[in-house]
């Protein structure tokens, strides 16, 4: 019998490793039965509503090695367990990578940012309300998508890249990191690998059950941002129904290297329009060599939404996305 409301934490093992090796060993040992717990803002809803039923949680917040913001030879490294508040307020990030600091500062609410972490914000599951309700949809291992029926309520869903599932990436920091050409550091008991931020996220066509490339036993432990994009011209904007405690209807993160009044190189990424942060490659190449101006903005905006396939209630995302591109380009 399915009750429609739960809100009661079930029995669950809790591991609180204090060093990396222990955490990675636990992650390997527990495999899919283990649940990585950081700030818990995505976790507790799932568990209390019993829509996900792992046997154990591995709390990552006691591992100091995975926290903090450090300068490296080629940029900066941020531990994945660093809180979003720390990122939003960090002087180093504010001075060189303000794009990420701004994005982190727009996540949810101050209370959530105080406990929520960068890793959690990047790895959080989609907010499709059908999926979150605990329905056995495609993403939950089922065999249909409730969000894409002829009358489904899919105002917050995808314009692009839908394959059976039409859910979108909910993260505000993910587009910023893709725009900054960051690298994700993934650790496991058998070693470490790195993946470009852009390739870290995967869509339903590749894997309908997961939103990142992380395999059981793997943990996102750090994010590296290359010096190449430090102090570029940035633009971040999040449009949500509410100004705090909400997910983006569309967000945009842009990094541009401008010289002599012309854009030399740009990386532009929109969130909440696809299951992964969407690189706007056609816009990026169209603005190359152009000035950051109203005219350029008007010229390139429509490129952003080419190929968009709106659902029942998200047609507004098309002009909204174009408008955000305009704002990013003209600055």
């Amino acid at each position: 019998m399915v009750a429609t409301s739960h809100d009661v934490m079930p029995d669950i093992e809790l591991y609180q490793p204090t060093d990396e090796a222990n955490a990675l060993a636990l992650a390997r040992e527990l495999g899919t039965n283990g649940w990585l717990l950081s700030g818990g803002q995505d976790t507790y809803g799932w568990l209390k509503d019993r829509a996900k039923r792992p046997g154990a949680m591995i709390e990552l917040t006691r591992i100091d090695a995975w926290k903090g913001i450090r300068e490296t030879a080629d940029g900066i490294e941020i531990g994945a367990v660093t809180t979003l508040t720390e990122i939003a307020e960090n002087p180093l990030l504010l001075s060189r990578y303000g794009l990420l600091a701004e994005a982190a500062g727009k996540v949810a609410s101050p209370q959530i940012r105080n406990v929520g972490t960068l890793g959690g914000n990047l790895c959080q599951d989609t907010r499709c309300w059908y999926y979150r309700r605990g329905l056995d949809c495609y993403r939950a291992g089922g065999n249909l998508c409730y969000a894409d029926s002829p009358e489904a309520l899919n105002r917050e869903h995808a314009l692009f890249g839908a394959s059976r599932c039409v859910a979108v990436s909910p993260s505000d920091t993910a587009p910023a990191l893709v725009a900054l050409d960051a690298t994700m550091v993934i650790s496991s008991a058998s070693g470490q690998r790195t993946v470009d931020a852009e390739d870290f996220f995967i869509g339903p066509a590749q894997d309908i059950l997961h939103m990142t490339v992380l395999r059981p036993g793997e943990i996102l432990t750090a994010v590296r941002i290359p010096a190449a994009w430090a102090n570029a011209e940035y633009y971040f904007e999040k449009v949500a129904d509410r100004n705090v405690w909400d997910f983006a209807l569309v967000n945009i993160a842009a990094a541009m290297k401008v010289s002599g009044g012309a854009i030399e190189e740009a990386r532009m990424v929109c969130g909440a329009v696809e299951c992964v942060p969407r690189r706007l490659r056609s816009v990026e190449s169209a603005v190359r060599g152009m000035p950051r101006s109203e005219q350029t903005a008007e010229q390139v905006a429509a490129l952003a939404t080419e190929g968009a396939r709106p659902l029942n209630y998200n047609h507004f995302k098309v002009p909204l996305m174009q408008n955000l591109v305009k704002r990013a380009v003209r600055g």
Binding site: V2, N143, D148, S149, P150, R164, Q206
Partner: protein, 256 residues
Amino acid sequence: MDGEIVRYKRDVWGEEVILGVSWDLLWVVATAILILLAAHAIIMAVLANRKMDKPSSEGRRVNRHHVVDRAFHWIMAVSVLVLIITGTAPILGWRIAWLNIHWIAGLVLTFVVIFHIIRAFFWQDFKSMLLGPRDFGEPFDSAKKPGKYSFEQKGMHWAMTVVVLAVIVTGVVLFLQIDTPFWDRTNSMPEDQLGLMFLLHGLSTLALIALTVTHIYFALRPEKLFYTRSMITGWISEDEMAANHDTSKWSPKEAE
């Protein structure tokens, strides 16, 4: 493995409905078929000493497969393999964008199968493939030789026919449940019926995998390899025909 054949899920209002086949069965089927074929290979190896000499592929040749049928066979073979690979990829955790390839291969398979059925009824010797009661004695009597197709070949064909038709019919139903360039899905199929379709598609897929592996195994066996060659070139030698077929039942034309 929890030993279940069917997986269940909750429907939108919380009632239990079929979700599909338990993919643990994939390993059961794979293991079972590999054991069976390995056993067959060992027995054949033991019996090999007593076997007659291999018939010669030299000499006069007779037509066995028309070029159209050979083309059909290989298109079907490729599409089935693509379907199996793309269909099992997500189950095996292989992250490829499999679905579009899967349904395109499925459409190819559907069209060639329809083509084959029409051709078989009107332009081919349909009777040569019919499986009668007398055929069942064939494996137990070394004196009995078949016409164009042996008992095993007919058996494989008809088993394949049933399984492929099941895969196609259920596959087409499932195809209607996804967005394609031709239509938008409606999600109007009741969840229990949808689950049943997934179950039948899964079960027939498992059977198809078993049959395909078996078919490939026999096609690669030394004593059957000339059949595989004939599926490529179209001909077998008269010697091969005489050793394996009853010419009173099958008298093909000489190959050019």
